[in-house]
Point group: C2
Chain length 239, copies 2
């Protein structure tokens, strides 16, 4: 296999700098959209439809779909649920299609359209994801959703975790990949403790979602890789 590029785009605001037409884009929004998408797909959700706006989500109101809308960390009034992973348990999502809009994650997914393939990453499926990436000939772009276009530490750490797991494969890394892997190595012994020093963590604590946070930092709870198929995120069929 030729030497592939493995790059890290630290926020969607930098995505225009990357040529990702032939790449696999891994969308990352650890707290909590992509963690919940991985968990929901693992738990039997038929599909998750990422939409950009609350209005677009609302337009599915009279369908059989579940509607999930989060803004600024909270469930939008009138919606079934937001992006807490505990809303994506088997009892709630098995066999269902969910329409989802979030502050950062679904925005990043939509910006990635045009990539060779768009997949969803989180600590929950990190090893399954990396094992699959290794088998693919494509360059890889890890797209951190960030927080309102600013860089955040949890998405950066996950990108670094992927770099760490792929490193033996001899990808060509960019500076962001080198930096995030070093941060991941610093933090990996206790991701939650490391992230406690961020301001983001204080904000999330105010939202009362510490259990969500702890859950989203579990490695390898799931094996599914959500992949975008048209408008729908579905479970990738692995050979």
């Amino acid at each position: 296999m030729h030497k592939r590029n493995l790059e890290v785009c630290l926020t969607p605001a930098l995505l225009h700098l990357y040529d990702f037409k032939a790449s696999i884009v891994v969308v990352i929004d650890i707290f909590r959209a992509t963690s919940s998408i991985c968990y929901g797909i693992e738990n039997g959700a038929e599909a998750i439809i990422p939409v950009a706006t609350v209005e677009a989500c609302e337009s599915y109101r009279h369908s059989e779909f579940l509607l999930a809308a989060e803004r600024n960390g909270e469930v939008v009034a009138g919606f079934d649920f937001g992006n807490s992973p505990f809303s994506y348990i088997r009892e709630k999502v098995d066999g269902k299609t969910i329409v989802l809009t979030t502050t950062n994650g679904t925005h990043a997914i939509n910006l990635s359209r045009g990539a060779s393939k768009i997949v969803i990453g989180s600590f929950l499926n990190i090893t399954a994801l990396c094992n699959w990436l290794k088998t693919q000939p494509n360059d890889v772009l890890l797209l951190c959703s960030g927080w309102k276009d600013k860089v955040n530490l949890e998405d950066s750490l996950f990108a670094g975790g992927v770099v760490h797991l792929l490193k033996d494969e001899d990808y060509h890394l960019d500076d962001s990949g080198i930096a995030t892997e070093d941060l991941y190595n610093l933090a990996k012994a206790d991701l939650n403790a490391y992230l406690k020093k961020t301001s983001h963590s204080e904000r999330l604590k105010k939202l009362g979602i510490e259990e969500d946070i702890a859950f989203c930092l579990n490695l390898d709870v799931t094996k599914s890789i959500p992949v975008l198929d048209g408008e729908r995120l579905v479970k990738m069929e692995l050979e």
Copy 2:
């Protein structure tokens, strides 16, 4: 003093996310523009005029000014010099005004206009810069020039070094500040060795500027803080 914000903008492409009207912006382009500006001002340059384009630099051709133009790491043909720090020694610049355009650094300076104050940082003046920042009531935004709007490691490391030196002052850090300080702590024992693993470093090696690189990583060779006064970077008068 109230609790000040200390934020790190990892590339000029993210500057629009920050409200810096009341802030001190520290412009950072370690390889090599801001290192050379610090060195030139320390060595008696009367002023350095940062301009955006080679054409703007050319327009000063028939003045008494020295003309410095760099693009893609090389001196532009027909110009006195580019951004090698060794062009900014006392014998060459004492008492002179230099008009300078570079790939990344002068772009970042120009984008920062509108800040309360714009100053120039590099490892060469890091302690002098931080000692001065401590005395100022303003929020601080560390602006990494990056490489063509992408994040680079050397500018990020310097930002982390500033965070490290200011940390006892109880600034409020953002996630980029936390991340870059951790990277600086990893790298500080041997900055040059740490940076050797970057792809940027390979590119710079091809340019034959390893001596420049090594020089730009020296701490506290200078004490001057270049500050933008109208169109000119001049030596800040410290009390």
